[in-house]
């Protein structure tokens, strides 16, 4: 099977972001929080400070590298939460039908009607800022698309011959859902999860930008952007580098998601062949 160039680029970008996050303590030049030096405030990018320094004289390169940890953790964990909730609700709704299906469909429509960022804001306002509340806020608000997709797949898969056959062979409902239906709808769900991860990273950036994300002085890409707002004309490097990090990671995830869609969809596979 041929993998498209875009998929390779996307995968590489995302892999680099993950690697940077994992290796942060070793590849960062200074401590992102403690090594403030007001004598070196707002230094432009140069040989010593690759990405320049911020208003407190902290090395922006080190902060972007460490920020990857928080941004990616939030992106991956919150999206996993979304995927699990959406899949469980959608799969059971499509499989069982009846009042449960009506309830889940109604709930999904409700979630789609409320802008998810506003909903996340409300949850953050209740729980207060911090990493855990970020995960909860973003992990509970973005499952509606996954849920719809899972429900539609379950509806079409449950009439498949092998699902009927497994019922005849004495499989229970849970076993049918897990062994027969779930594996067969995983392809599109993985694609949605990959694309959604980009969205979640952006949402984390937005919440942190609004001051409801990770508490300063700990760096996340969104909070760095937020802090850089006032100096955007005098010291643009403060906002350019965290912005670039978000841009490249989300671009990578979107390219990867698109590529996975082609790889996991047998029809587009045969079209290409």
């Amino acid at each position: 099977m041929r993998v498209g160039t875009n998929t390779v680029i996307g995968g590489t970008l995302f892999a680099i972001a993950i690697l940077v996050g994992i290796l942060a303590p070793w590849i960062a030049h200074t401590d992102p929080v403690m090594d403030a030096n007001l004598m070196l405030a707002e230094e432009p990018p140069g040989r010593e400070f690759w990405f320049g320094t911020d208003a407190q004289g902290r090395d922006i390169y080190s902060r972007v590298v460490h920020g990857a940890r928080i941004s990616l953790t939030v992106g991956v964990v919150a999206q996993l939460l979304n995927s699990m909730i959406g899949t469980a609700l959608g799969l059971s709704a499509g499989y069982f039908g009846g009042w449960w299906d009506d309830f889940v469909t109604g709930l999904t429509n409700l979630m789609l009607a409320i802008p998810s960022l506003i909903f996340a804001l409300a949850i953050m306002a209740i729980l207060g800022p911090g990493l855990t509340s970020l995960l909860v806020a973003l992990g509970l608000t973005n499952w509606s698309f996954t849920c719809r997709l899972a429900r539609a797949s379950a509806l079409s898969l449950k009439s498949q011959g092998y699902v009927q056959a497994s019922r005849v062979l004495g499989y229970g409902d849970i076993r049918i859902m897990i062994t027969q239906i779930l594996p067969n709808m995983l392809g599109p769900l993985i694609v949605i999860a990959t694309l959604g991860m980009g969205g979640t990273i952006l949402a984390e950036a937005a919440l942190s930008f609004l001051g409801l994300g990770v508490r300063p002085p700990y760096p996340s890409w969104g909070s760095m952007l937020s802090e850089a707002r006032d100096q955007i004309t005098t010291a643009p490097w403060l906002s350019v580098f965290p912005g670039l990090a978000i841009f490249l990671t989300v671009l990578g995830l979107n390219l990867l998601g698109d590529g996975l869609r082609d790889i996991l969809d047998p029809q587009s596979r045969s079209r290409r062949a």
Binding site: Y162, A165, R167, G170, T179, N184
Partner: protein
């Protein structure tokens, strides 16, 4: 000894206010190890009778009356859990379409092994080993290697063998085969039929064979029931039914079979057909349901539904003018 007794079964199709009877007054018995065939055109109710036996009728279909007894116990009275444990363990079923009845994402060995884990609580290793044994029994060559294959890597005949292996894995008491060979080549058909017959005979498994192929059923089954428009119209030993079909409908079916060496088979004469089509469930004709298509129809056929009569040589028929 009677294994399965279907008595006066009625299956309702809910539509509007009053339910239509899709199947009614169907009674037959299958003894342990016996082979019983159910023949009829599409839509005559044979497949839903099978689903009723498996306890898998879904809305809008439901059992409207009569009883289905397995070893004397009415299966309608079992709760969902008991019924589920019965399926696959004591009652097994294979379908027409071996192409779609296997999960495309699981190796076939795993799908067989699942039966031992599910119904006998076998360990994963043990189940895997027994799956290979079962594959060997259905004469799949190189079973160790085939067990790791995915369904799309197997031919239609091989897939049907795998289906048989899954169905017979737990040595069920009754195997329901719903048109098991329709989707297969003629040469493969006879192999599959022989295999089913042989394995069931060895295990003492009774077979309920459902088909529109009278020839296949007659060669495989000891007793044949012919269904028309939701009713059994004739039930006899298969040797008899070919020699002297009693019901006009059965006679039509037998006459429409191509025979080797007959003029029709060499293309000099049209094959016999039964004029008309099967009536839809919503408007079964009054009286004898076959009367609009019957050559022997008289006035009584329009008004009175014929009762079941016993034929002199054994067997049952539902016709005013049989013989």
């Amino acid at each position: 000894m009677t294994l399965l007794a279907v008595e006066d079964l009625r299956i309702d199709l809910a539509a509007g206010d009053a339910p239509h009877a899709a199947v009614e007054e169907v009674s037959f018995e299958i003894a342990r190890g016996e082979t019983f065939g159910l023949v009829g055109e599409s839509g005559c109710g044979k497949s839903i009778t099978a689903l009723a036996i498996m306890g898998l009728l879904q809305r809008p279909l439901s059992i409207g009356g009569g009883s289905i007894r397995l070893d004397g116990r009415a299966i309608q009275d079992l709760d969902a859990g008991e019924m589920r444990r019965l399926r696959g363990k004591r009652l097994a079923m294979i379908f027409q379409e071996p192409m779609t009845a296997l999960n495309p994402l699981l190796p076939v060995g795993r799908q067989i092994a699942e039966m031992f884990i599910l119904h006998e609580g076998a360990s994963w290793r043990d189940a895997q080993r027994r799956a290979i044994e079962v594959l060997e029994r259905v004469r799949v060559p190189a079973p160790e290697r085939r067990a790791r294959d995915y369904p799309h890597q197997l031919s239609g005949g091989m897939r049907q063998r795998v289906m048989i292996a899954i169905a017979l894995a737990c040595s069920p008491d009754l195997l329901i085969a719903d048109e098991p060979t329709t989707a297969l080549d003629v040469t493969v058909q006879s192999e599959i039929v022989d295999l089913m017959r042989e394995l069931c005979a060895a295990n003492g498994t009774a077979i309920l064979m459902i088909s529109h192929d009278l020839g296949l059923v007659a060669s495989m089954c000891r007793t044949v029931g012919v269904m028309y428009a939701g009713r059994l119209v004739e039930m006899r030993a298969s040797a008899e039914i070919f020699k002297a079909p009693a019901h006009p409908y059965t006679r039509g079916l037998v006459a429409s079979l191509p025979r080797l060496g007959s003029r029709a088979a060499v293309g000099q004469r049209r094959l016999q057909e039964i004029a008309g089509v099967v009536p839809s469930i919503a408007d079964f004709p009054p009286g004898c349901r076959f009367h609009p298509r019957c050559g022997r129809m008289t006035e009584i056929c329009r008004t009175d539904a014929p009762a079941v009569r016993t034929l002199p040589g054994g067997g049952l028929v539902r016709c005013h003018h049989h013989g």
